[in-house]
């Protein structure tokens, strides 16, 4: 979307709990251990992820909003929470052929939300895996 005086952004943060195991089929057992360390534990482990969804667009003069939060909440609930919350990410079809690193989870969340909040646009998805690391994707 092009610049305009009433272009602004709105964001909400959501918490998602899930387990994963980082393991690449293309690598040997030793290489996996070397690349992923404790994250390669065959039994998996989990995180409380924070998903921050930033939406951009024109502020509607009638509502004062870029995107009604109810629309954003519904989209995130239906497309992200119901799919990923309290699940094992490795078992999701998206992660059959790619490792469920937080980089890939971030991109997956962006892809499933991309057309869910029109006419507003998805500006950025941030996924915080722990308090000390986070990942961002803007397409």
């Amino acid at each position: 979307m092009s610049d305009s005086p009433n272009r602004a952004y709105f964001a909400r943060r959501y918490m998602l709990s899930a387990s994963h195991r980082l393991h690449a089929d293309a690598l040997s057992k030793e290489e996996n251990l070397q690349a992923y360390g404790k994250c390669n534990n065959p039994n998996g482990h989990g995180h409380n992820y924070v998903i921050e969804v930033l939406v951009g667009g024109s502020v509607d003069p009638a509502t004062g909003m870029v995107c009604n939060m109810m629309v954003l909440d519904n989209a995130v609930h239906e497309r992200v929470m119901q799919r990923f919350d309290h699940t094992n990410l490795n078992l999701d079809p998206l992660f059959v052929n790619q490792v469920p690193t937080t980089e890939n989870l971030c991109r997956a969340v962006y892809e499933v939300l991309i057309d869910a909040i029109q006419p507003a646009e998805l500006a950025r998805v941030r996924v915080e895996e722990t308090e000390n690391n986070f990942f961002e994707y803007s397409g």
Binding site: D3, S4, A8, Y9, F10, R13, T63, V66
Partner: protein, 141 residues
């Protein structure tokens, strides 16, 4: 270019209401925010300024000065106020005091002051309504 951010907090009440709509439509679109008795938040303002550090002071802008400007231009007007009833830009029939519009209003209150301080420009205003909800204005970019 270096970016500098100063954070401040204010507490205020507000409600969302479009005067041209029926009560039913206001309640449908704005939900609990349409309660005309109002409700309140502890807001956090983040003001980001961009510029080159001054070769003598090493400052993009003097943080003490920026703190005072935010206090005079924003907190004085918004803190412990009812935004709809006490802040001119959110008066009846004007902008609805959503988080987006608060971000735009804070930008409008600060832009010229920052530009007049010599070299730095206002880059971004972010308003947190709660720790999990924020809006941002970058001058329309």
């Amino acid at each position: 270019m270096v970016f500098l951010t100063r954070r401040a907090t204010f507490s205020a009440s507000h409600y969302y209401w479009n005067e041209t709509w029926t009560a039913e439509k206001n309640e449908q679109v704005f939900g609990r925010c349409a309660n005309r008795n109002g409700h309140g938040h502890n807001y956090t303002v983040e003001v980001t300024v961009a510029g080159e550090p001054d070769p003598v002071t090493g400052f993009v802008v003097d943080l003490k000065w920026l703190k005072a400007v935010i206090e005079d231009e924003v907190l004085e007007a918004y803190d412990h106020r009812h935004l709809n009833l006490e802040v001119p830009e959110f008066a009846r029939g004007k902008a609805i005091p959503t988080t987006e519009n608060i971000a735009i209003s804070v930008w409008n209150r600060l832009r010229a002051k920052v530009a007049g301080a010599g070299g730095a420009t206002l880059e971004r205003v972010r308003i947190y309504e709660t720790p999990d909800i924020f809006a941002e204005y970058r001058g329309g970019r």
